[in-house]
Amino acid sequence: MIWDWGYAIEILPALLRGLLVTLLATLLGSLLAFTLGLVFAVVRRNRVPVLDPLVRAFVEFWRSTPLLVQAFLIFYVLPGYGITLSPLTAGVLALGLHYACYTSEVYRAGIDAVPRGQWEAATALSLPRSRVWLGVVLPQAVPRVLPALGNYVISMFKEVPLLLAIGVVEVVTVAQQLTAQSFSPVEPLTLAGLLFLLISYPASLAVRRLERRVGVV
């Protein structure tokens, strides 16, 4: 097999368009995972009646099943209940829900690391519950867990290609389509891999710098 520069340059724009979809899925999936994970963590820590056992059961179940199965479930099973989603929406939902189960544990660790004295000082000032969370606990807990959240974003980014199974036209899907047309898998797949590397590696360096700044190992 010989590397064909001409062919590589010809397919690069298509791959970049695929990469944009991958990045979009990662961005939206992360936003969902960060928000939902925080809600899960706060519900669990506050032992909200009814919701707490539900969240707990969901997280246990969802963490024990593969992302691919969850994506299939959302894309192929939900329409049976009248909920039809585009591949990208279904994919973002799958990523977001899957990673929310992990980010909720990350937030929980961050919340547990806030000293008990902070809660007690907030009680001594009679601060309302909502203010204790938003003004005292989360501003201390969240910065500490940013590096851990960043690592999940990177690993989510690398799992987006799984969504080719439900027809999301992300970068690996594009590479596969190109391979099917040209019978030459080397250039598309190598370039797709390189594109992942070009983004994941600097991102993980950035996370490491962040880790040093917040002082958490």
């Binding site: 004295g117 007690e120 009679s126 005292v136 201390q140």
Partner: protein, 258 residues
Amino acid sequence: MSSEPMIVFDGVEKRFGDNVVLSELDFTVRAGEHVTLIGPSGSGKTTILRLLMTLEKVNKGTIKVAGRYLSHMERRGKLVPADEKYSREVRKRIGMVFQQFNLFPNMTVRGNLIEGPTRVLGLSKDEANARAEDLLDLVGLRERIDEHPSRLSGGQQQRVAIARALAMRPDVLLLDEVTSALDPELVAGVLKLLRDIGESTDITILCVTHEMGFARDFSHRVMMFDGGRVIEDAPPDKLFTDPDHERTRSFLHAVLER
């Protein structure tokens, strides 16, 4: 000092598992009184402050502050354990200063001082800021108002914590070993501040401390605890010079010989 009771403990019992920390505890603190609780560690002194701050719940008995139940509330003529909303109302009148300061590190000194007044008492930002500046004048840290607590020494942090408690204009102030975590040379400044506050206000103060010199000239009354009970309750002059109980005598001896 008036003769109105500010704090009333009535048959209070507190257990942690099988460990009885306070048993059948009755005492009254009058409005404006300064009472110091002394005794060996584990004798339940700090637990009393924590019960008053609703950081712990009583297992038996009742606590009243300024004539209202703290531990309980009246509902349809019956006494039931207080819920969160009710106890928040009553404890607005109570402030606490902790051994470890517990300032909010994510806020500046100013932020720490205006948090309660704006969020709980409903003061405007301007009113709360004016109050914060006055209090920082009192504790001698006006020029540090826009710094974060981590930039201050332990003694300075504790003075800010005292200002934060006072910003709520409490009727009752609880001081939980407030100098125990400080370097020795910083203790005097904090104690002097507390003496000034004791003289210039009519706040009822309950204090747990190992500083016997301070306890002696600051308190109107000293209560000696051992094994979850008050074994002696007397004015400081009496208790420190001529205690009735052998246990008080040996405790004071041990502490003062240190």
